[in-house]
């Protein structure tokens, strides 16, 4: 089992969290939606696996490259 860190590609805010801890996700599934400059930016899972950590909550600010989700492969 390897853990994969999912990072935010932008500076912005967490608009909506789609995944829950324990969810089994496929590569490409939307984990959460960030908002930056009035745009919705979906964060997709880079791998298939299980969501083990959600490091942000709704309305939190996020920085570019910040780890926001951890997936166990």
């Amino acid at each position: 089992m390897a853990s994969v860190n999912v990072e935010s590609e932008v500076t912005g805010k967490v608009w909506k969290i789609e995944a829950s801890i324990g969810d089994n996700v496929d590569e490409g599934d939307v984990l959460m939606i960030l908002e930056s400059m009035k745009m919705e930016i979906p964060v997709e899972s880079p791998v298939s696996g299980t969501v083990t950590e959600l490091r942000v909550r709704k309305d939190d600010s996020v920085d570019e490259d910040q780890v926001i989700v951890v997936i166990e492969q």
Partner: protein, 445 residues
């Protein structure tokens, strides 16, 4: 006429309204968040008022604070610009109740056009053609019924929405349930209302819109804009007059439109989709449009000044409405702070921000060097409007001005815009809303 206008907005449009006020001899008061204190609009206005905070909901969207600010600085009118409070009927109503003039239509009109299904059905009843659409969708079965009538694909839209946000395209029957479940919460969080409706999805339509100027008893159309170059349902390039041979279709629908909205009382825009030889009503925007500048350039008119004058009670027959027919071609490109390759917004400090003036080019910039582009507001940096006696000349001037406009510190979509303006399909006027995607697919092969 108004004495003092409050402008609870920022960037390009706040600056534009300040200019119109100055021309009319009206004082301008610009409200600004803590992040925007150093921007050109704040420096150029007659008075600046701080709205403490930086998030839109605490500042530009804080209707209570904005109204109190207007009273405190004795503004007799509020110009909301576009975005933020521009289409909030409850704000417009509060402003009216406070005895202050809302520079826009009456709150009734904003309300009437804000629920998209109602706007469509009321227009349809008045004889305006409308592309196939559903009523409010209570559940998945309603979607299946609608698909049964019109076939796939369809697009789900928030009924209280607008601006292309929260839309989901359904291509396959088995996607109906999942797309419905995805769309509902997004409509709720985006527009505080989870009702949805559906339209037949047109994959290559053109987005055509009519500029409306009206004073409550008299209504006229001041030109038509072509706005099909979009990414993620947001406009990138707009122009007027409309390329291609649509004259007959446009001429047919114009009198129907002016009759349907004859008691409208401000400037506004009727958006239509053109598909398979037919124009159909999409929605009406009861405000100043981002792309108003192309109409101003082609028709020799100052739409912002007109909007202010109409709100002060002046009637169309006493106002300068410019020329009815376009006198030249105008093409606008929206320069955004974004990484076009990855399709992501880009924030940072504008180390260099240098628009270059050219003959026949109008540039509306919201920033100067040293300003910060933050994630809190929209990514529009500037609008570049090229004009000319031919469409080719207007396109070429826009492209040259884009190329010369230096920006460092954030990524921009300048190269993407230049590529579109230089593409064969665009130059030949073979324009539709899917063009950008087609060009993108071709270049990445």
């Amino acid at each position: 006429m108004h004495q003092r206008v409050l402008i609870p907005n920022r960037g390009v449009i706040a600056r534009r309204i300040v200019r119109a006020c100055r021309k009319l001899g009206i004082q301008s008061v610009v409200c600004h968040s803590d992040l925007d204190a150093q921007t050109p609009a704040v420096e150029e206005c007659d008075q600046a008022v701080r709205l403490p905070g930086y998030q839109a909901k605490d500042t530009y969207l804080n209707s209570h604070l904005v109204l109190e600010t207007a009273k405190k600085c004795r503004a007799d009118a509020i110009h909301p610009g576009y975005g933020f409070l521009a289409e909030s009927s409850s704000f417009a109503e509060d402003v009216e109740t406070a005895g202050i003039s809302f520079i826009g239509p009456s709150s009734d009109w904003i309300k009437r056009m804000s629920v998209k299904t109602e706007a469509r059905s009321s227009m349809s009843k008045l004889g305006i053609p409308v592309h196939e659409g559903s009523g409010l969708l209570q559940n998945e079965d309603c979607i299946r019924d609608f698909v049964g009538q019109v076939g796939l694909p369809i697009v789900l839209k928030p009924a209280a929405g607008g601006g292309g946000i929260g839309m989901f395209v359904v291509h396959e029957e088995d996607e109906i349930a999942i797309k419905f479940q995805q769309a509902q919460p997004l409509a709720k969080s985006g527009f505080a209302d989870d009702s949805l409706y559906a339209e037949k999805y047109l994959s290559k339509p053109r987005h055509i819109e009519f500029q409306v100027v009206a004073d409550g008893s008299d209504c006229s159309i001041l030109g038509v804009r072509e706005c099909s170059i979009q990414r993620r349902h947001q406009k990138l390039i707009e122009e007027t007059p409309v390329p291609g041979d649509l004259d007959k279709q446009l001429a047919d629908i114009e009198p129907q439109l002016t009759s349907a909205i004859r008691d409208y009382d401000s400037i506004g825009t009727v958006e239509c989709l053109y598909d398979d030889g037919k124009l159909g009503f999409l929605e009406m925007n009861t405000r100043l449009q981002v792309e108003h500048g192309v109409t101003e350039e082609a028709h020799n008119v100052d739409l912002v000044a007109l909007q202010v004058q109409i709100s002060a009670g002046e009637s169309l027959d006493s106002l300068d409405l410019g020329s009815e027919k376009p006198q030249q071609y105008a093409v606008e490109a929206r320069l955004y702070a974004e990484d076009s390759e990855r399709m992501l917004p880009s924030s940072g400090k504008l180390n260099v921000f240098r628009p270059v003036p050219f003959e026949g080019v109008r540039i509306e910039a919201g920033y100067r060097a040293g300003n910060y582009i933050t994630p809190y507001y929209d990514p529009l940096l500037a609008k570049i409007i090229g004009t000319g006696s031919s469409r080719e000349q207007a396109i070429a001037r826009t492209a040259i001005a884009l190329k010369a406009f230096e920006v460092e510190g954030v990524s921009t979509n300048s190269e993407l815009l230049q590529n579109i303006l230089g593409s064969e399909a665009f130059i030949l006027g073979r324009i539709h809303t899917g063009l950008l995607e087609e060009l993108h697919t071709r270049s990445s092969r």
